[in-house]
Symmetry: C2
Subunit: 98 residues, 2 copies
Amino acid sequence: MTTPKKTLTSADQQLLVFKALADPIRLEIIQYLKQVEHEVACGEVGQAIQISKTSGSYHFKLLAAAQLITTHKVAREKYVSLNLATFERYVTDFYQNI
Amino acid sequence: MTTPKKTLTSADQQLLVFKALADPIRLEIIQYLKQVEHEVACGEVGQAIQISKTSGSYHFKLLAAAQLITTHKVAREKYVSLNLATFERYVTDFYQNI
DNA sequence: AATATAGTTCAAATATTTTTGAACTATTTT
DNA sequence: AAAATAGTTCAAAAATATTTGAACTATATT
């Protein structure tokens, strides 16, 4: 049995998004994910930007909670990619939406 | 004599901007500044969103450091307004610029 | 079956951010 | 000149966020 996922108010998600973006490591992750061509697993990103597995796990969790990335697990590995819809709605369109 | 103002790298300013946006009080301030018609002093904003003078002073300082607001002092009062150029460059255009 | 690999979880330690109240400066009003 | 108003500064306290390593789960390789 899995825990039911909380639906967030849009103000709450807006805050999660900005909090997720307010960290240099997470900005590096996002930058890496934007420029890389192929599908990437967490481990590849971690190596590329030189952080520990534990640290990676923590930061990917926050990015996912903010819905800035989506993830899908294939066997041992967790693939991550940017969720452009969230960027558009909560970053690009932030100013016009408030 | 005034202290020379540090010029920031754009990565540093990007981070300051997201940190400044990563707080509910500061988002309320921004919202208020966007919707209000006339020029506003810090005190008016503080009253509108119910925060203390001290708290206001702290939050306006961070917003100004991120260049999300500009300020000008007239006698006792400090007037604040949104700096749209910063919103455009570091928020609206964030994704395309990284 | 044993070992290696990818990632998570937990709790403790550390670092950073935010809040608070008192004391302060500068200006305005009485 | 005294009192009031707008805002700042400082340091201590409180709250939040991040880092770290050890122990863990699940899958893959030998």
